[in-house]
Symmetry: C2
Subunit: 246 residues, 2 copies
């Protein structure tokens, strides 16, 4: 469902996206004029890996899953991203071929923009190139951290780490966390089978005293989870490496 | 051990590095004049994660391990790289703080260059920024693939995949593969405990009929490993995604 896209509203939103910071007004006006803003339902596939794409996407609200799938249907979730994240822009360096699939996993408002505009501008605007480099450097740190955690942390520790990344890590006292999407998807995001996730969540509860009530998790303070999960991590708490904010 | 670094020889070598492709002659001359070429022994630590660094590195020969370590000494190997790879350059986007540690794992010839030169030039030379973006996009694809494989492939399949990446995938007939570094390090690179690696290698042998003799692995053709490992991968064989060449 496309809803009316007001170029000037879109332009204002694009200015809040890190890769467009300090970009020329004329470029932002041009790319906004060619933008579409659409509300997509859960389940909508934006693109499939190894497709040639013409447009890239920015999440305005909701969640989008990035994944790859084998011919047998086994799926690896590479990431799950929320607002302000850019999807598919990386295709400009790969002959417009996108290296992952993207599926809307909760109703989402998504802006699509022509890849050609971005591809042309990046050759002229060094600021845009530097912004993208900075964003990719940050992304690389997150990926390295993901590989580190899959190597060093056990399953309950990884769930604890996932929870810590959902909240303001500087808060004191009792904390309530709501899972942002369903548990099967959290399991997939963490590379676990649903049964493994379920067992690991129980173990995390036993180790840290958290209370689990459906998608809501409560605890007296962050201390227990920090002590349990961050012991198996090379970064200091509060951590920067895994924030999804690009 | 520093050995005489001839700036003009270094400049010639830098031209073969993808991030310096088509860069201005004056920049290459300047950065080469400030370069050092050193031979380092196995075990030499080039830098430690979260250090502020002044120089970045290019591997001319040998292998270098990138890793992060917890306070308890648990280590996650993020990558193991060989010649033509650039290390630490990413620090220019992170206030000169490097996000991983680097250790020489076989005697290696390594060029070091001032980070300040790179940081200054990237603001002026859009070609350099685009080269780095392309290299980081490629790197991101490799990281996503790594996460995919850790999700979908079992341990023997991952070893098979690792072997396929060491060789020319288009060759026909019998194949002999030499492991590039010792088995403990291959295990660490794949995020496995040495015992897991050992059991998984035996299982791979049983499933595919390869012959293992120390660090040498022989097979009648690549077909068996391809059938066994690539079934649990979303890319087609021959694959591009995991080549270490940047």
């Amino acid at each position: 469902m496309t809803h009316k896209s007001n170029p000037s509203e879109i332009k204002t939103y694009l200015k809040t996206i890190s890769i467009f910071k300090d970009c020329s007004d004329s470029f932002l006006a041009k790319i906004s004029a060619n933008a579409q803003c659409q509300i997509h339902k859960k389940g909508k596939i934006l693109f499939v890996h190894d497709d040639t794409i013409e447009r890239f996407y920015i999440i305005k609200s909701g969640w989008v899953k990035l994944f790859r799938e084998t011919l047998d249907g086994a799926q690896a979730v590479v990431d799950i991203l929320d607002n302000h994240h850019v999807l598919g822009e990386i295709a400009i360096f790969e002959n417009n071929i996108v290296p992952y699939s993207a599926e809307v996993v909760s109703n989402a408002e998504i802006i699509s923009l022509p890849l050609a505009n971005l591809k042309k501008e990046i050759k002229n605007d060094n600021q845009l190139a530097l912004n993208m480099l900075k964003s990719m450097a940050h992304d690389r740190r997150r990926k390295d951290k993901e590989i580190e955690h899959r190597t060093i942390q056990n399953a309950p520790q990884r769930i604890g780490c996932f929870l810590l990344r959902l909240i303001d890590q500087n808060q004191k006292g009792p904390v309530t966390i709501h899972l942002p999407y369903d548990k099967t998807l959290v399991a997939a995001r963490l590379g676990m089978q649903p049964e493994t996730f379920s067992r690991a969540l129980s173990k995390l509860r036993d180790e840290t005293g958290i209370r689990i009530n459906g998608a809501t998790i409560e605890m007296e303070s962050l201390d227990q989870i920090v002590r349990y999960s961050c012991a198996a991590c090379s970064s200091n708490f509060p951590c920067q490496d895994l924030k999804t904010t690009s």
